[in-house]
Amino acid sequence: MVSICFYFQVHQPFRLKKYSVFDVGHNHNYFDEHRNEKEMKKIAGKCYLPANSVMLDLLKKHPEFKIAYCISGTAIEQMRQYAPEALESFRKLAKTGRVEFLNETYYHTLSSIYSQDEFKRQVEKHKQMVEDEFGQTPRVFRNTELIFNNEIANTVMNMGYDAMLAEGVDRILQWRSPNFLYSAVSAPKIKLLLKNYKLSDDIAFRFSERSWVDWPLTAPKFANWLSAANGNGHVVNLFMDYETFGEHQWESTGIFDFLRSLPQELLKHPHNDFVTPSEAAARYPAASELDIHHLISWADIERDLSAWLGNKMQKAAIEQIYAMEKDILESGDEKLIDDWRKLQTSDHFYYMCTKWFADGDVHKYFNPYESPYEGFIWYMNVLNDIKIRLKEAKKKVVA
C-alpha cells in the first residue's frame, strides 16, 4: 500500500513600492498596491480559480481523493481585497471535508530563526485565520519554505501539533527513503512528513522542460513511477507551490489536463490511496529519528537558507527588522505592528538574493525589482521610516 499526500503552498507577499530616501518621514504607505493588485488578479485568474475548479471536480468525481493547502495570511488578505472569488473557491474546497488546511506563520516569515516569541504569535494568528476562513483547527504545521532543524521541531512539538513538514534532503536522509514518516531527535512526539523532491519536482519544475529525457510527462507515466514505491514506503509526499498549476507551468503546457487525469491514473494501481498530512501522521509510524542541526529548506539546489540569508545585505536587513521587536510591540500601535510584520515576509529577503549565476533564473523571475540592490534599498528606506514612526509612537506613549 502506498498513500499519496498532496500539499500545495499558496502565498503572496505585500511587495514594496520603490520607496525613495526622500519618502522617509513623509510617506508611510510602503506597499505597491497597484502591483499587488495586478499580481493577485493575475495569479487568481491563471492559477487559483482554474486549479480550484479542477480540484473541486476531482473531489466530486473521486471519493478517495484528498488534498491539503497552506495559505499564508498575506495571501488571504490580498484575496479578500483583490480576488474575493478566489477565496470563496478555497472555502468551497474546505466544505468538501476532504481538504486539509495547514498552519504556518501568518506573514510567511523567517521568525522561527530569529524570535521564538514572535514566531509563536504569528503561528497563532494564522491558526485563528484558518479557523475563521475554513472552519478547521489545523493539526499539522509547515514552516516558511519548509525551513527546519531540531530546534524548530522542538518548538513546534511544544506548541502541540501532530506533525510537521520538511524537505527530503539527501544529505539528511542519506540511504533512507523520504517515503516513510520520521521524527526528529529533538521532537519525538511529532511526526515528520518529508517531501519526495524527485517526484514533486517532476511536476513542479520539469513538467514542461523539453530537454528533459522524460518529457512529455503523462499521468499514466507519473502514476507508474509513483506506484513503484509500493512495498518500500508508506506515503509519497508531493509538496509544491500551487502556482505550479497555470503560472509556473502555463495552461498551454497541458498541466491542467495532467492534473485532471492524475487521480484516476493513480487509482488504477489497486494499492494506492490518498491521505491528508493529518491522516498520514495518524496512520503510519515514524520509521526512525532524524538529527538535523543545520537549517534546511526546500529552496534551490542547496536546500538551505542561502536564498534569504546568503549575502551581507540580507543579513543586515533581517537583523535590523528583528532588533526592533521589543520597541515595536511596546508601541501598541496596531498599524505600525502590522507594517513591521508585513516587512518580515521572507520574499523581501529573497528579492535581495545575489545568488543569480548558478540557479538564478528562478530568482530573476520572482524579483519585482530591477536588481537585488534595489530590493535592499527600498526595504532599508522603509525601515528608516518605521524607525521614525517608532520614535513618534514612543513619545505618545510617554505623554
Binding site: 525613495s20 530616501v21 526622500f22 549575502n311 551581507k312 545585505m313 543579513k315 543586515a316 536587513a317 545575489t354 543569480w356 530591477e370 536588481s371 537585488p372 540592490y373 534595489e374 535592499f376 534599498i377 532599508m380 528606506n381
Partner: protein, 403 residues
Amino acid sequence: MRVLMFGWEFPPFSKGGLGTACHGLVKGLSHNGVNILLVLPSYNGESQISNLNIISADKLHNIEIRRIKSLLTPYITSGEYLARYHAGNHKNAGIYGRNLFEEVDRFSAAAEEVAKSENFDVIHAHDWLTYEAGIAAKKISNKPLIVHVHATEFDRSGDNPNPHVYWVEKHGMEQADAIIAVSDYTKRKIVHHYGIAPGKITVVHNSVEHKPAISYVPSKLRETDKIVLFLGRITLQKGPDYFLYAANMVAKRFPNVKFLLAGTGDMEPFIIEKAVEMGLMDRVLFTGFLTGPDIDKAYRMADLYVMPSVSEPFGITALEAMANGTPVLISRQSGVSEVIRNCLKADFWDVHDIAGKMISVLEHPALKETMQEEGGREVSKFSWNDSSRKCEEVYAKVMSKAW
C-alpha cells in the same frame, strides 16, 4: 589573416574609451593570432616611442604600426580642432587641414597610400574620424570594410547632430560591408537614425583589462569623508550636470561627503559656476584630466562611482570601477547596462533616484560590500579576447562574402 586597422593611440596617449577599446581589441586579436597593420593618426612624436614600449611590454609580436601625422584625436569637435590647429601658430599651416573635415580628408588620402603598398584581407575602422580612410582603403584594395561604431553623433551632441559629421558617419556605415556596434543600445541608434538594416550590424560589447592591483595608500580625504566619483569628459554627453544636481541633494543630508569630478571638457566652466551657486565649492573637487594609475586610484578612493551619461554607447569606465572594487551607479541610457547586473541603475534625468541611490550606498555598508564582492566577481569574467573573437567572426563573414 591580416587586418588593416585604422585605430587610435593607446592610453595614456589617447583620452577616453576609444583608445582603451582599441588597445583591448588589438591585444585580444594579437592573443588570438591575428596579424594587424595598425594605422594611427599621430601628432606627438614622443608618443610613438612610448607606444612602442607599450606594445613590447604587451608582447604584441604580430602587430605593425604605421603612423600618419595628423591633428586628429578621439572625440575631437570642429571647435577643438581649430583650437589645436591654431595653437601650433603658423607651423601647422600647409601640413594639416584647415578645419576638421579637411583634416579627415587629408588623413584618408594618406591612408590610401598605405593601403596601396600593403597586403591585407580586411579593413577595420574605429569611429567616424577614420571611416573615410577605411572607404579610401576599400576602393583601392577591393577588400571588405568593417566600421566599428564606438559612438554616434547623436550620443555626443545630445540629439543635436552636426549635419556634416552625421553625413560622414552615415556614408561610412553605408559603404561598409559590415558594422560592429559596441552595444544593442548603439545598434538601435544606427538603425533608427542612420537607416541601416539591422542584419548588417553585429554587437560586440567592450570589455576591461584585468591589471594587477595597484599599490594604493588610502587617501587622507577618506579619513574624514566619503567620496562619490564622476570620471569622464565633462561634456554634455556624460551628464556632469545631473551628477551635480544629485550631489547637491546628497550634500544637504550628509556633511561628510565629497564629490570628485575627474576629467576635463567644455562644460567645466558651467559646472564650476553651478557648484559655486549651489554653495558646494568645499564639497565638489576637480582633479583635472587623470591618466594611468591615477585613474585606478580615483576609483579606489571612491565609495561609489557614478556614470550619469545622457547617452553612453558603452561605458568602459563602469567595468574599470568594478574591477577596482568600487560599486557603480550607471545610467540606463548606456550600453554597459546591458551586460552588468551587479550595479545600480537610474535614468540620467531622474536626479532624485540618483541622489537616493547615492545616499543608500553611503549609508549602508552591507550594500556597498555586497556590490563590491558580486561586482568584482562579475567583471572578472569579462575578457577582451572574447570581444576580439566576435570581431574575428565578423571578419570571417565579410571575407566569405567578398570571395
